[in-house]
């Protein structure tokens, strides 16, 4: 019989990782956007 342990912090850890990943991506997109517009100036 397989015994599975429920980890109550699993969602929290995945949630935190998702947030951090989105933050990095968002920072990069904003940096590229600003660069593109600075080249237009």
């Amino acid at each position: 019989m397989e015994i599975r342990f429920h980890n109550p912090y699993r969602h929290s850890v995945l949630g935190l990782l998702a947030e951090l990943t989105v933050f990095v991506g968002f920072m990069a997109v904003m940096a590229v956007l600003a660069l593109v517009f600075s080249w237009l100036a």
């Binding site: 969602h11 929290s12 995945l14 949630g15 935190l16 998702a18 947030e19 951090l20 989105v22 933050f23 990095v24 968002f26 920072m27 997109v29 904003m30 940096a31 956007l33 600003a34 660069l35 593109v36 517009f37 600075s38 080249w39 237009l40 100036a41």
Partner: protein, 507 residues
Amino acid sequence: MWVGLKKRDVRIIAHYVGLLVVAVGLAMTVPLATALFSAEWDPALDYLAGISVAGGAGLVLASAAPRESVLSRQNALIVTALAWVAASIVGAVPLYLSGQYGSYLDALFDAVSGFTTSGLTLVRDLDHLAHAHNMWRHLTHLIGGQGIVVAALTLAFGMRGGGAVSLYLAEGRDERILPNVVHTARFIWFVTAVYVALGTIALTVHNLLLGMEAGRSFLHAFWATIACYDTGGFGPQSQNALYYHSPWFEAITVMLMIGGTLNFNLHADIWRGDRRELFKNIEARTLAVHFALLSAAVGLGLGATQYFSGEWAVIRKGVYHIFSAHSGTGHQSLYPSQWTRDYGDLALVAVILAMALGGMASSTAGGIKAIRTALIGKGIVQRVKMAIAPQSAVVAAKYHHLTEVRMRPDTLSLALLIFALYVITYVTGAMAGLMYGYPAREALFESISATANVGLSAGITAPSMPTGLKWVYMIQMWIGRLEFIAVLGLVASVVASVRGRKRRGRP
């Protein structure tokens, strides 16, 4: 009808404000421990004095409680408004005793700035301030960012029930994450603890790699993490973020700023498994649009300047400050005079708008808040639709904010009201700056920075600034943090009480 305060109300209010002052005294044990650990004996005495003042005054006030001290909504508003004042008054005591402030008023300015997570400072020699005082300055950001009243009364004193809910709502947190306020407060502290731990570790490693010695690396990392996650803006060095000259420092702190400006309800949804909420939420979408428009504007503006048109300068002096301003943090990597001298008008306006708009509601950020601009935008669209629809048509506006919500007229009118109050305060503060003879751009910049609890400075905020302007900025920081209603409630209650007393005194 305006309802004045009775003697019983005053005693209840004094009781809760007293509890809070005791809690502030308890918090001062952290800088006291820092002083003892760092062998800073004079600062240790400053904190012993601070704890004595807070403990003594707090216990006297707390003992005023009548037997049944149930907190009404009106009293909760007043407790909240006064709690921030009382915390600042006692919090300023050890800072003043440090000898690093020109007067008690300057120390009070820093305490108000700290608790409201603004970050403007009047300290004279920041680079030589004791560890204990830096610890206390940054700790005020942590306490204020989490919400003084809720933090103290739910965690330190285990307060529950309707009174706790009223205090929670009065403190500028308009939504409840969990049904129980104590659980909500603990969830907020849990998210904060995780971010503070991660930020401190990352920045400690960064500082060690920069060549700082271990203890200093850790302290600088801890303080920068608190200042950025709680969107405060204090720093242990007068050059603020510029001191580190590091793109890695800026990247890590921007991550913390974004984490701090996220609505705690959004954190809760994502941390409970609903990760798509981040992309569906109207407030997150609106904030992303603000960031995109302002990043584009700052890029366009800086691209035309003499000093900041290079690729790295656009990112590190432009985008970095959009994040710092929009989140309400106020960490800056420019000298104050550069804002109006070298930054260019378009980029400066982008930063000013970022400060004014602010982050998300129910976060540690200040300013108008993204949910309000989103609702006002939705309201405008709804009005246009109604104008062109047939007379019999019913035009309803819906949006997704944690759940599907149908926009109610009172929600829109409250958003418009708070928006208008922010704009009025921004302009009033700027007028005060102009009256003291400062140029328009600096006056507007500093006024918005104070009201939106940002902390970026164009150079007006200094120990030598006029005393009257110090008071103006302190009031702006206070009412901006509490989003007006609690302070207006306090003023209305006092006026109603005085009028009622005069009426009763007439023959």
